[in-house]
Symmetry: C2
Subunit: 146 residues, 2 copies
């Protein structure tokens, strides 16, 4: 394997990005195995945990643009994993609901994704995994503001 420039290797942003690429590949493979993908999983997760919600709320919860939520819901609704009905109390909004089949699909994706975490963190001890996720969570919280 050819050597990577130290200029890159020394930069946390490079390491983060490259590890994220591998993580994304693992996750995408896991998702594909059950016929879904990242955006779908995000929406299904939010619906399962917080119940029915408007599209804008969904987007804010899972860090997706409004327009991407629309496209994703079109696909999910096409597979009957989700239902979209107008909100009678606010006619700008839709109320998005998780269907039984959607919940089942989420469960399948979840199992695939659990395996991914193990593969991703294989070289780290349990204590190291905790330390890593703790620091990442702090970084994310910090950057989600401002």
């Amino acid at each position: 394997m050819e050597k990577t420039p130290a200029r890159l290797t020394a930069k946390p942003s490079w390491l983060l990005g490259q590890v994220a690429v591998h993580a994304h590949r693992l996750a995408a493979d896991g998702f594909a195995a059950v016929g879904t993908r990242g955006y779908h999983y995000r929406i299904l997760s939010a619906l399962d945990e917080f119940g029915a919600a408007s599209q804008a709320d969904l987007g804010r919860r899972v860090a997706m643009d409004r327009s991407d939520v629309v496209a994703t819901l079109n696909e999910l609704a096409g597979q009957a994993l989700v239902e979209r009905t107008p909100d009678p109390d606010d006619r700008r909004r839709n109320i998005v609901t998780l269907t039984k089949e959607g919940a089942r699909q989420l469960k399948r994706a979840d199992q695939a994704l659990d395996q991914v975490q193990d593969d991703l963190l294989a070289p780290l001890s349990a204590a190291e995994r905790d330390a890593l996720t703790g620091m990442l969570a702090r970084l994310l919280a910090h950057h989600r503001q401002d």
Copy 2:
């Protein structure tokens, strides 16, 4: 700020991906400020550290697909940051060389990127930063094989 599903928050792959998104945004802004972008920086870095190289070698060093190296070199050569000459010893290959101006551009990008590291890791202590980059480096080394 709306709450994110625990299903996501609990997954290292999610945290990694989201932090990487913020890191990428910071880096892209820094790069844009000096008129460049990630792919350019990778190529310039490899040329600066290892000297002239073939396109295939460049791609392997900085984890870029052959075809993406071609496009990037077209742009870099268009700005005279790089020169592409046929290799007399192997007529399949090109020898790519960093120009004076290319080295200057690299230096500018480097300064921008150094600032990004600080912004990215702001919430972490020096010891934590080391621990984080150490673990990320191990993960990357592990996943670069197989």
